[in-house]
Symmetry: C2
């Protein structure tokens, strides 16, 4: 087993394509430039050019935009197995910033590395396009959800989506998952105040659906929560490899 065979990205891409030995070897090479980043210090800034992309192997990161009025909108969170800044490396200018939420480990990927990997293993290119499409589907889901789902359903949907993403890389289940996010992160992602986040979480707990406390999300009634959220995980496409 190569090192990358056990990496979260490998686990994730395996949901789309049954990877060959040659493809696993190329993935392992993409993990070659290991970097560490400390919590709270931006890995990349909005507007920055000539930036590398990263494959997150341990820890959590948030990507966000600062509005002209100074408020912060969190666009998404990245968990192990996710690319950071894949879009920025291709679009040349980063349209958002990344901040590690905890200390993180990541592999740096330059545009040249990516092109070389694509040239050797086109199925890997397709798998990475799949992962990017999945990221886009999540942003679309957030776009459509904002303002349409009430605060309870929005929170429920968010906790369920994170749970499914983490389950794909072996870090969660329908029982729950460890989660380092604070109520401020939840507030900036969901467009709620921290006080409102607090109240919504208490209501979900009192209804016996889910508890988020001490860095852990515990699902008490998974299907009840999914019903409240209107959560249909088809857009995450985790049902097994399309390409054998």
């Amino acid at each position: 087993m190569t090192p990358a065979a056990a990496s979260p990205l490998t686990r994730k891409l395996s949901a789309f394509v049954a990877l060959s030995e040659a493809e696993l070897a190329v993935l392992a090479r993409l993990h070659g430039r290991r970097r560490s980043f400390v919590a709270g210090r931006d890995m990349a800034h909005q507007g920055q050019s000539d930036q590398a992309a990263y494959i997150l192997s341990a820890g959590w990161v948030c990507s966000y935009k600062i509005q002209p009025d100074g408020t912060r909108q969190i666009v998404d969170f990245q968990v192990p197995g996710d690319f950071l800044g894949l879009r920025s490396v291709l679009l040349r200018t980063s349209d958002h910033s990344f901040e590690p939420i905890v200390d993180v480990e990541a592999a740096e990927v330059l545009t040249g590395d990516l092109l070389e990997a694509f040239a050797r293993t086109p199925r890997l290119a397709t798998a990475i396009l799949w992962a990017a499409s999945r990221d886009e589907a999540m942003v679309v889901e957030h776009l459509v959800g904002i303002g349409r789902r009430d605060a309870g359903a929005r929170m429920a949907h968010f906790l369920l989506e994170l749970g499914s993403r983490l389950a794909l890389v072996g870090m969660g289940s329908k029982e729950g998952y460890d989660c380092p996010l604070t109520q401020y992160h939840l507030a900036d992602a969901l467009g709620l105040s921290a006080v409102h986040v607090n109240r919504v979480l208490r209501q979900l707990r009192e209804r016996g659906l889910v508890t988020f406390r001490d860095g852990h999300v515990a699902f008490h009634d998974y299907s009840g929560l999914a019903e409240l959220a209107g959560f249909d995980p088809a857009y995450l496409d985790q049902t097994g490899p399309l390409l054998k």
Copy 2:
């Protein structure tokens, strides 16, 4: 010059990669299965599986989601040179519907076609990933804009973004562009009522910034409109090929 050399997709991808003869030939093959669709009848439905992707060569399409409460949220519009359903073909289940706004011409692309094209020309795979990243950057921009920009700035940003996209495929300039969208399309995309859309367009016209009438958008004061919208086109990455 191959037929695809003149296609809108070819023009668009050329902003990212200087295409070789071999790459142009593969692109031409991707345009092989020509289809026509009439205005107003969905090309694909939310929840549909085993769907093809399309490369739009003429006409306008909108992609949308129907909410549980029956309202329609338009996620984005597609113009010539854009992929339709690239995400759906990779994610297996379409997370949204497509409706032609006028009669359209499109080339059907099956997953197998795409894989074969990627295997022959990895730089083309990277260019398509670039286009998908650009689509995602637009959705992120809409996500962040919703609720943060007031109605005037939101409309201005929308008209400017469309103008830049159309300019890339030779269908618009800083003078303006032809646009078949109705006030109902604008309302469903921007989260406004049709009456509100009407009022906002009148205000922009009276301020001497832009007129949208009789199927044509005319910019009177491009930089004034860009300033009102806070429009920075860096996320569209149209400044010339990264890969020579």
